[in-house]
């Protein structure tokens, strides 16, 4: 048990060398992920034949941007996931936290489902946009119920 407490303390020490608190770290990483999600949705829309006048980039470039923004967004969610799942846990003291906890529990499930659909061909045309859109909507919901709340109710800063 002492080991676990040491992990928690070390994690907090590392985070607070850059951010004012662990919550601030979470808020900024979640914000970075949501910005990348906007890139994801935009490039995905372009790949499906829309926004061609807005995003004037060749398809291979858009595809590469889409993949790398997705990878970076996933990486940005990892420290948030670590803090939320291992330190805070599933909580439901009010509606905001309950919605956040439920969305947080299923977001990686939707991500895993999307990865399965991408790897395996042959699903109906509409499946990938629907699952990808759901994943984006979940991440935005998570951001609204955490980082946005933090920036507007506690403080806006590092």
């Amino acid at each position: 048990m002492q080991f676990l407490l040491d992990v928690n303390k070390t994690y907090t020490d590392i985070v607070t060398t850059v951010f004012s608190s662990t919550i601030a770290m979470k808020a900024w990483f979640a914000t970075a992920a949501v910005v990348l999600v906007i890139v994801q949705v935009s490039t995905a829309t372009r790949m499906w034949g829309h926004l061609q006048r807005v995003i004037r980039l060749p398809f291979p470039v858009v595809k590469r941007i889409h993949r790398w923004s997705g990878r970076l967004a996933f990486v940005c969610t990892l420290p948030v996931f670590f803090h939320c799942v291992f330190i805070l846990g599933f909580q439901h003291p009010n509606t905001r936290v309950l919605v956040h906890s439920i969305a947080g529990s299923i977001v990686y499930g939707v991500f895993a489902a999307k990865m399965v659909i991408i790897r395996e061909k042959g699903y109906p045309h509409w499946v990938l946009p629907v699952v990808g859109g759901s994943l984006a909507a979940l991440l935005v919901t998570l951001w609204l119920t955490s980082a946005f709340w933090y920036f507007t109710n506690v403080r806006f800063g590092f």
Partner: protein, 117 residues
């Protein structure tokens, strides 16, 4: 048909795993050492961090790292009893009972995590 089940299986398996880990939350901060055996009740350190930022950080600085009016708390050698007494009675530039009730318990839980005990 079996193929269509794979994404759904992945969704359910990963979501349940995440939920299980969140229910377990193995790194949940325990009762601070300074509160063990004493009558001081400590609350939720996470909520306490937010309450601290709203009520205390203006003087003690973000994360208790020192501010314009209040001393640095992060790493300071303080017992929870001393911290609670200061919150309740005030002193110096600090007004008494700046946080009370659940807010005070949560702040104590948070402060217990940043002071040197």
């Amino acid at each position: 048909m079996a193929r269509a089940r794979r994404p759904i299986a992945a969704l359910i398996a990963v979501s349940l795993t995440a939920f299980g880990l969140a229910e377990w939350h193995v790194l949940k901060p325990g009762t601070p050492k300074a509160a063990a055996g004493s009558t001081i009740t400590v609350g939720d350190a996470y909520r306490g961090e937010t309450v601290f930022q709203q009520n205390c950080a203006v003087c003690h600085g973000a994360g208790g790292k020192g501010g314009s009016a209040g001393p640095r708390l992060a790493g300071a050698t303080l017992t929870l009893a001393r911290v609670k007494a200061q919150i309740d009675a005030g002193g110096g530039a600090m007004p008494p009972a700046i946080v009370t009730g659940r807010d005070e318990e949560d702040v104590l839980a948070y402060v217990a995590g940043i002071v040197a005990q």
